[in-house]
């Protein structure tokens, strides 16, 4: 059981994040990146982004994640507002030893998960010492 209380993390606005043609703010999504023996996994919070509006681009070593939120229709009078709608954008440099062909992306409950398997050459190798 979690003993910590969740706080609102104010969304951080991206500075000069690729030119946006839409008049909406662009935010930096919060990410977790973890490495296991076989893969590097990136998990990003992008609430409000449908899977078809997600754009993942890997250009040489630059991984770019971009998510656009659909236009919101105004419904009545706003009485309370704690967050702003906006797009998400973030860029990472990857080391080149990923197996690009096998990268898998999935989106669930507004969370993007990107699993990037390591190339064979980059996997740790156990060296067994044979006794003669």
């Amino acid at each position: 059981m979690a003993d910590t209380d969740l706080q609102i993390e104010e969304k951080k606005e991206a500075q000069a994040a690729g030119e946006s043609t839409r008049n909406v703010p662009v935010f930096i999504p919060a990410v977790d990146i973890y490495e296991s023996e076989n893969a590097l996994t990136l998990v990003a919070d992008m609430p409000g982004v449908p899977i078809e509006n997600l754009d993942i681009d890997l250009d040489s070593d630059q991984l770019t994640i971009r998510g656009t939120v659909p236009q919101q229709e105004e419904k009545g009078k706003v009485i309370f507002k704690e967050y702003t709608f906006g797009d998400y954008y973030r860029q990472f440099s990857l080391s080149s030893d990923m197996d690009r062909e096998k990268i898998q992306a999935s989106m669930k409950d507004g969370v993007l998960k990107l699993v990037m398997p390591k190339a064979e050459a980059a996997k740790p190798r156990k060296i067994t010492v044979k006794s003669s």
């Binding site: 910590t4 104010e10 977790d32 973890y34 996994t41 998990v43 105004e74 009545g76 507002k81 702003t84």
Partner: protein, 153 residues
Amino acid sequence: MAVFRYPDWRWPNVSSALEDVERARRQMDRLLSVFTGGASSPTSSGVFPPLIVTEDEETINVEAEIPGIKAEDLDISVVARTLTLSGERKPEETQDVCYHRRERKWGSFRKALTLPDDVNPEAIHAECKNGMLKLILPKAEHVKPRKIVIKGE
């Protein structure tokens, strides 16, 4: 003969001066909210999840950003005019990994909101999609606006 009339001057009331400062501060907040899109921090409760509440004649709409929270981990209840959202955001289960970045937060939350009007608790509609919760709370019949027909002779 010239008559000098002194203005009816007195030391300004301190509490009314503070009211002026408060009014100026509110006006400044409103002006600045044009740039921040209305999400100025003084109005934020700081309690997860962040909400947008809108109201029209028939309904009250509540939207919340809850990325990574499954519908079954979320509890919504309405008692009289108090809407309570509670639940837990669970950490991802990982084994034998080392973290390069860990920015996503997890934990439990409980947030209460006082609704501006009475709602019909039987007709509340809730949906969870792409990490967004949408609640539509129809207002109770007795608070809905009623058109009054004027009869001619």
